[in-house]
């Protein structure tokens, strides 16, 4: 039994950022920074319960989208049958443990099949599971460099190309990377940092009432998880429905030129390199508007999105204090 997402006390930034990624997976994931014991992992694991269904090719282990990039198998099937049969499937949170080895990450030869039938067959790895799902790495800053290289590679390409042990296989690997880290334990490679669409920071709550509430809920959950869940199920269902509604309304919310201009004026005021920041900001404010049930993207959405999308992209001298960033963003925001 997982602790219900809606039962998490406060930490609204983190919760919203996670939800926005569900509404529009192309936002590109989330990095949660924060000190120990602030519920980072609990929140990510709890997200699983709120995830909607997506359409995927029936029985495809790679969760291929018939209208998107296809895996080698689906491509063959499409060539043979002329069409692909889709089925609804629940989105998932796939975990990447720290001790992972390369073969399990990218996939490898299926040993049993090879021994029994004397033929080579691809056995999907974690990247296959992660396609169109959340890929969750706890303590992402402690991940082995070698594994990070592989992750970055497929994140950049959106596909996982396997050429090993006489196997040739390609499958789509577009995942929402969600990482948690405690900055005291070490920094993250800048390249990997940039891969996270959004970034939030969590601290422990200093409000007594909220702390007591955390204690109560935790104690209630520990003593009877099922009963505790039952008291939250209505809220969970309501939030899940709201997320689905937001996903569906996304297409109807226009992204006007003046929204784009506002975004560009912010990012250029902060002299950010590349276009990833612009694109992520656009998608985030769009998803925020959908989540808030609006029909247009307002200045508030752009403002709120900017902090999620920009804080880890700001050019910062290695030792500049974190507080300085917020001022810079605020200064840029004041202009719109």
């Amino acid at each position: 039994m997982i602790f219900p997402f809606t039962a998490l006390v406060n930490q609204d930034e983190m919760k919203t950022a996670l939800i926005l990624n569900v509404i529009d997976p192309s936002i590109g994931g989330l990095l949660i920074m924060g000190e120990k014991g602030t519920g980072k992992s609990t929140a990510v694991r709890a997200l699983a319960d709120l995830l909607p269904d997506i359409e995927a090719v029936k029985d495809c282990p790679f969760t291929c989208d018939a209208d998107g990039t296809l895996c080698s198998d689906c491509r063959d099937m499409l060539a043979k049958d002329g069409h692909l049969h889709q089925e609804p499937r629940k989105m998932r949170v796939v975990e990447l443990p720290l001790g992972v080895t390369e073969d399990r990450l990218v996939g490898t030869l299926d040993i049993e099949h090879a021994i029994r039938h004397g033929e080579k067959r691809f056995e999907p790895g974690i990247l296959a599971d992660a396609n169109r799902n959340f890929l969750y790495v706890d303590e992402v800053n402690l991940l082995e460099d070698h594994i990070v290289d592989l992750l970055l590679d497929s994140a950049a390409m959106g596909v996982n190309t396997v050429e090993r042990e006489g196997i040739s296989f390609v499958h789509p690997a577009r995942f929402m990377l969600v990482g948690t880290m405690n900055p005291e334990e070490g920094d993250l490679r800048p390249q990997l940092l940039d891969r996270f669409g959004l970034c939030v920071s969590v601290t422990s709550l200093r409000d007594k009432k909220q702390r007591v509430e955390i204690l109560k809920r935790k104690a209630a959950f520990d003593s009877d998880p099922e009963a505790f869940y039952a008291t939250w199920v209505a809220g969970q269902e309501k939030l899940a429905a709201k997320i689905i509604a937001a996903r569906e309304s996304l297409a109807a919310i226009p992204v006007d030129d003046d929204v784009l201009e506002k975004i560009v004026s912010i990012t250029s005021a902060l002299s950010l390199d590349g276009h990833r920041a612009d694109i992520v900001m656009m998608k985030t404010s769009h998803a925020l508007a959908a989540f808030r049930g609006l029909s247009t993207i307002g200045s508030d959405e752009i403002k709120d999105a900017s902090w999620f999308a920009l804080r880890h992209r700001l050019k910062r001298l290695p030792f500049e204090e974190v507080g300085a960033e917020r001022e810079k963003v605020n200064a840029a925001l004041a202009q719109i």
Partner: protein, 609 residues
């Protein structure tokens, strides 16, 4: 030895009893001197746990395979299907995982333990296996802090912590000797076990009133604990304590009884603990309550301390001792662009492995990241099988997989090779002259940027007045280091020998835990040593320390001279200290990139790439 016959240390015993009553108490860490009975007492937990509860010890030499579980060679070869062989996590499920000398455990293993413990599940994605099994266990551990510290992350996971002191009383010491030789009577713990079991039965009925939850939150806020684990562990411990008392309702008394056990290791350490001799100094009366009061049963009334006060506490605690004019905190000079300083002994390795902070782990440990053809000691059974698998029909496999010479694959293991740059900074009054400290801080800042880019660990030692202290324990967070750098004050005499001795102690401590660590010691001083700690002449003391440091392997040393050159007061004493240490010598100006390039071109044997 049974728990009941263990002499003294009643509080430590209580931590075990509470954990035996309710596993949600989150385990315990025993901290103390060697030979004070930490491990013996921890192991006695076995005798008070219900029969059949697993108690698994995690040896320091444990490999990743053995911990997580791995592919079973015999079964896999016999059956031709991958068979999982459970590891330590699986055996510890539902019981206790005991780690003796937990601070000596390699960081890779520590992060695995934490990961599995936090999700109460072991997720294996390796060697072609994809297995998950439940793994919830109580962590019990011991450490002797003299041999290295523990990551705050790991520290936070322990529900409780208790510091052992050796028993001083003669009668108790005699009793310990007696107990060590006496054979335990088989039912020594009978009475205790009975009390624990009735407390366990009672536990589900123990309730906590809201008022007391608020009391818990107040305490945690007062002590500025990080995160929310402290609250949760306090609640669990107080309930177990109430059950032990036979009470159905938790009262303040129980909470107060467990506060010292749960908060001992959690109070926010805004500043590394000062060396023990400082604690008696009167100036510390203005500091937050020292350890002894913390353990006091009644926590002080919650007083709201604002952030500003926090900031103040963060600065080193020396100030009040000298008149304020002797004490000055200089700003950090403009950092300059500099060429990278490399670890000299690392260069050949770099060429070989192509990675800076990685080295291939040849002997022990390290993480299995991929399989390769190149022969090593560890056969990668999964990869070997994969290589052999397609040929089994041709090779006429009967009841065991046929493996050819060509099929063998080997594990490539990697482990982080520690690079630690230790900045040994002269904080004496003479560093204040002509604002030498401003330039010195600028130089350190520049070196820190270099470390940041290379993701090396950094540490900082400051020597001034009559002692040296580690103001920054080795950390990967360079921002942390930069903050400490800004705070370094200047004033007092120059105990250079003490600075070198503290350096030696730090290197020894880190080296013991991470034998592959390469050290770069950067001594920043004007060389005007005028204070010895041993009664020897300062210069003689420095010479001794130099010998001591030179005996260590894997250390590169650099002396950065902060003295302004070309004046008639110039002494060049830092140069002679550099010679003594066998260190490379630079003035601050020489550290800057353009001049460095020149030096490299003139082919000096520098450690600069």
């Amino acid at each position: 030895m049974s728990c009941s016959s263990f002499i003294g240390h009643d509080e430590a015993k209580r931590t075990l009893i509470l954990n035996a009553i309710d596993a949600r108490c989150g385990g315990v860490l025993f901290v103390g001197e060697k030979g004070c009975g930490k491990s013996t007492l921890a192991r006695s937990l076995r005798s008070i746990l219900p029969g059949g509860t697993p108690f698994v010890e995690l040896p320091l030499n444990v490999t990743e395979d053995a911990l997580l579980g791995t592919i079973s060679i015999e079964e896999t070869l016999r059956t031709g299907t991958r068979v999982f062989q459970a590891g330590i996590f699986s055996r510890a499920h539902g019981g206790v995982l005991f780690i003796d000398d937990v601070n000596l455990l390699s960081p890779e293993i520590v992060s695995l333990v934490l990961e599995v413990q936090s999700r109460s599940e072991n997720v294996i994605e390796r060697e072609g296996l994809s297995v998950r099994h439940p793994a919830s266990f109580i962590l019990v551990a011991s450490m002797y802090p003299g041999e290295g510290d523990l990551s705050p992350h790991l520290l936070d996971r322990f529900g409780m912590c208790w510091g052992f002191e050796s028993l001083r009383e003669a009668s108790q010491r005699i009793a310990v000797m007696r107990a060590a030789t006496d054979a335990d009577s088989p039912d020594a713990d009978w009475e205790l076990t009975r009390r624990i079991s009735s407390a366990r039965n009672m536990l589900p009925q123990v309730t906590v009133r809201d008022r007391l939850l608020e009391y818990i939150a107040d305490i945690c806020l007062t002590y500025h604990v990080a995160g929310h684990r402290a609250d949760i562990y306090l609640l669990a411990a107080a309930r177990a304590q109430a059950a032990l008392h036979g009470k159905r309702d938790v009262s303040r008394e129980e909470i107060d009884l467990v506060v010292p056990l749960v908060l001992m290791h959690r109070r926010r350490e805004l500043q590394p603990p000062p060396p023990p001799e400082q604690q008696e100094e009167p100036e510390r009366s203005q500091e937050p309550p020292p350890e002894s009061q913390q353990q006091h049963e009644e926590p002080p009334p919650p007083e709201q301390q604002d952030e500003e006060q926090d900031e103040q506490k963060e600065t080193p605690p020396q100030p009040q001792e000298l008149p304020p004019q002797d004490e000055e905190v200089f700003s950090v000079g403009e950092p300059f662009k500099m060429k990278r300083l490399f670890f000299r002994k690392d260069r050949t390795e770099r060429a070989a492995s192509g990675r800076r902070t990685r080295t291939r782990a040849r002997n022990r440990g390290g993480r299995y990241v991929k399989s390769v053809f190149r022969k090593s000691r560890d056969i990668a059974i999964d990869a070997t099988l994969r290589a052999a698998a397609p040929f089994q029909r041709i090779r006429n496999r009967t009841d065991i997989v046929v493996i050819d010479e060509d099929d063998f694959r080997y594990k490539r293991k990697e482990r982080k090779m520690g690079h630690l740059a230790v900045f040994v900074v002269d904080g004496s009054g003479s560093m204040g002259a002509q604002k030498r400290m401003v330039a010195a801080k600028g130089a350190i800042q520049s070196l820190l940027i270099d470390c940041y880019q290379k993701r090396d660990l950094v540490s900082m030692i400051v020597f001034r007045k009559d002692h040296a202290e580690v103001v920054l324990e080795p950390t990967a967070s360079v921002e942390h280091a930069a903050r400490r750098l800004r705070e370094i004050p200047v004033g007092g005499k120059t105990p250079l020998g003490a600075g070198l001795f503290e350096t030696y102690r730090l290197l020894e401590r880190v080296g013991r835990k991470h034998p592959e660590t390469r050290f770069l010691v950067v001594l920043i001083t004007d060389g005007r040593a005028n204070q010895s700690m041993s009664g020897m002449a300062p210069d003689e003391e420095i010479a001794r320390m130099a010998t001591l440091l030179n005996e260590q392997s894997g250390i590169d040393m650099i002396v950065v001279d902060t003295e302004e050159k070309g004046r008639f007061t110039t002494t060049d004493r830092a140069l002679s200290i550099a010679t003594l240490l066998g260190a490379d010598y630079y003035t601050i100006n020489e550290l800057k990139a353009d001049i460095l390039t020149d030096m490299v071109q003139t082919n000096k044997t520098l450690t600069i790439g």
